[in-house]
């Protein structure tokens, strides 16, 4: 297959009619180009939307308590209740495949009153009592100092990690932050670190205005006892949180003496489900891109097949001569197939190359003009390119198959008769 003479012949045949070869190649070129562009545009949209999800661990649910709507074990309906710290242990014991369970408490909130003071400056910020794992569920970058650790939890240290937004509000420019004190609802906390979050769905500003303190210190300082405001629960990779959330909620309900069928007592938000919904949208987009791209490619391939048939027809006599001289019919078949595959791959490569250049141009335009809503970094992965190549080889084979078959059907005696 890799001998010089065969390649020489392929080139001779394909270059003998340049104009026709280029026109034929254009069909395949255009098909693969459209495929690449569609896929990368879809990817760009996906990247744009995914950026809004940020780095958040998507296999996560949030769970909070509401009021009961059913009487149970002598307790009335309409009863408010709170999760307790032992619920966390209960979930951990009874539900497998959980990666993180972070109980959380919170002060302040949207449009809350000023609750943090430093010297003459005050501000209204969200203050969270948290465990160290929260940084893995809701990722943030520590810009100075450190984040929470278990010594802080165990010793109930009164320390705080503040957002860059808090720093801007409470400190002057250039002031040393780490080691200073802020007063949260009258209790002094030492700042040990600052963080920055990636923008998260338009709340970019809000996300930087949070303060994290150890869960245990929070409970003690603000009289929460064993109460847990809400929980962020992440499942192991490979287990969707959606599939085990019912189990988690029933454990909590049992622990808190809530009727097992009381659907409204425990509120939750399943991030994974939302994420899946968006994912399936992109799945559909990808499907459309492949569908349209491959159809366009197919018409190109049919063009190649067509031309190869004409080439075979034109070369009927030559094929006849070669067979009279004793060429193996398989060798002739291989020749036609290789011509077809070669033409398809070369034109396909050109399409991929141009597609890549267009993507590169769009990317550098995006870089120059700053980010655009819902569109970022359009690209195709290497696996897509390899997939496209595989499609090309298969389609080259398909395109050559019928012509090659008709080439070996030519009986040398008939071929030699054509004058």
């Amino acid at each position: 297959m890799f001998n010089k003479d065969r390649w020489k012949e392929i080139l001779e045949v394909l270059t003998s009619n340049w104009f026709r070869t280029i026109l034929t190649a254009f069909g395949v070129f255009w098909g693969i180009f459209i495929l690449i562009i569609l896929l990368s545009a879809g990817k760009g949209l996906e990247n744009g939307i995914m950026q809004d999800f940020g780095d958040i661990a998507t296999n996560t649910m949030f769970m909070w308590s509401r009021t009961t709507t059913k009487t149970y074990k002598g307790l009335p309906k309409g009863r408010s209740f709170l999760f307790k710290t032992d619920d966390v242990q209960a979930i951990r014991d009874k539900v497998p495949n959980l990666r993180f369970i972070s109980p959380r408490n919170q002060l302040g909130g949207f449009n809350g009153a000023n609750n943090v003071v430093r010297g003459l400056k005050t501000g209204a910020y969200n203050v969270y009592g948290d465990y160290p794992e929260i940084i893995k569920q809701d990722p943030m970058t520590i810009t100075s100092g450190r984040f929470l650790n278990y010594n802080d939890i165990n010793e109930k240290r009164k320390i705080a990690i503040i957002g860059e937004g808090v720093k801007d509000g409470l400190y002057n420019r250039g002031e040393e932050v780490v080691g200073s004190y802020i007063k949260i609802q009258g209790v002094n906390f030492m700042v040990v670190g600052t963080y920055k979050k990636k923008s998260n769905d338009g709340d970019g500003e809000e996300g930087q205005k949070e303060i994290f303190v150890p869960f245990t210190s929070f409970s003690q300082a603000f009289n929460r006892g064993n109460d847990v405001g809400w929980m962020a629960i992440t499942a192991n990779d490979g287990t969707s949180i959606t599939s085990i959330k019912d189990k988690i909620m029933s454990v909590v309900k049992e622990n808190r003496k809530v009727h097992p069928d009381d659907q409204r007592a425990v509120g939750h938000f399943d991030l994974y489900e939302q994420f899946q919904r968006v994912q399936s949208l992109f799945g559909a987009l990808r499907f459309i891109a492949y569908f349209v791209g491959i159809l366009v490619l197919l018409s190109g391939v049919i063009g190649v097949s067509n031309i190869m048939l004409i080439v075979v027809k034109e070369r009927t006599k030559e094929i006849g001569i070669r067979r009279a001289l004793g060429e193996d019919p398989w060798s002739i078949k291989l020749q036609i197939l290789m011509e077809s595959i070669f033409l398809t791959i070369i034109s396909g490569m050109a399409g991929i190359t141009l597609g890549a250049m267009v993507i590169y141009a769009i990317n550098s335009l995006l870089d120059m003009n700053g980010p655009v809503d819902m569109f970022a970094n359009p690209s195709v992965s290497l696996s897509v390119v390899i997939g496209a190549l595989a499609i090309l080889i298969v389609s080259g084979l398909l395109a050559g198959f019928i012509p090659a078959q008709s080439a070996i059907k030519v009986r040398p005696i008939d071929a030699l008769r054509t004058e």
Partner: protein
Amino acid sequence: MIEIKDLHKSYKMGNNKLHVLKGLNFSIAEGELVAIMGSSGSGKSTLLNILGMLDELDEGSYTLDGVPIKNLNETKAAQYRNKFLGFVFQSFNLINYKSAMENVALPLYYQKVPRKEREEKALKYLGQVGLKEWADHLPNELSGGQKQRVAIARAMAAEPKVLLADEPTGALDSKTSYEVMDLIQKINDNGNTILVVTHEEDIAHMCKRIVHLKDGVIVEDKMVEQVRAEQYV
């Protein structure tokens, strides 16, 4: 070398069956130079096609150099053609985009002879037909006689057992025809078996034996005094 017994061949033309060859019997020994003569429609081309394994016989038997030729698939037929037979056609049938040397080397290529050896041999045979200095020319740069000589070189390149020539001089003027016949005679002098299909008396008489076909049967099979083509060149 060639042994034919009771050979029948007919073609279907719509509903009619055209019986072209009606029971031929003859044999050709090694080193013979045989002319097959006959008017058009006498079946001489059909006979040549069957001898050349380009067509299949209906009935009878055909043995070439002791090998029975029957029920060949295309791959096998191609191998046998390559090994046993050399073809020379009326319309030369050179491959247009290949140079004279490449054309001559083609049968060797199908025998998977390495490139270097192939080219050496091709040049040798081109030399024998007196066209060594034309090796790099394309067929359309050659005259008719030259093309036919290239075709003969090509037919000889694979060192076949039998050379089959179908009207080798049909497209040439008489002077060039004699040149080609001279070449064929010289190849025969070296001991090669050659079959020439022709309808020209003078060409036929340059062979050693004439088989006359008429309406699908052999009407005459005679040895003749060979006229050397040399004297006309």
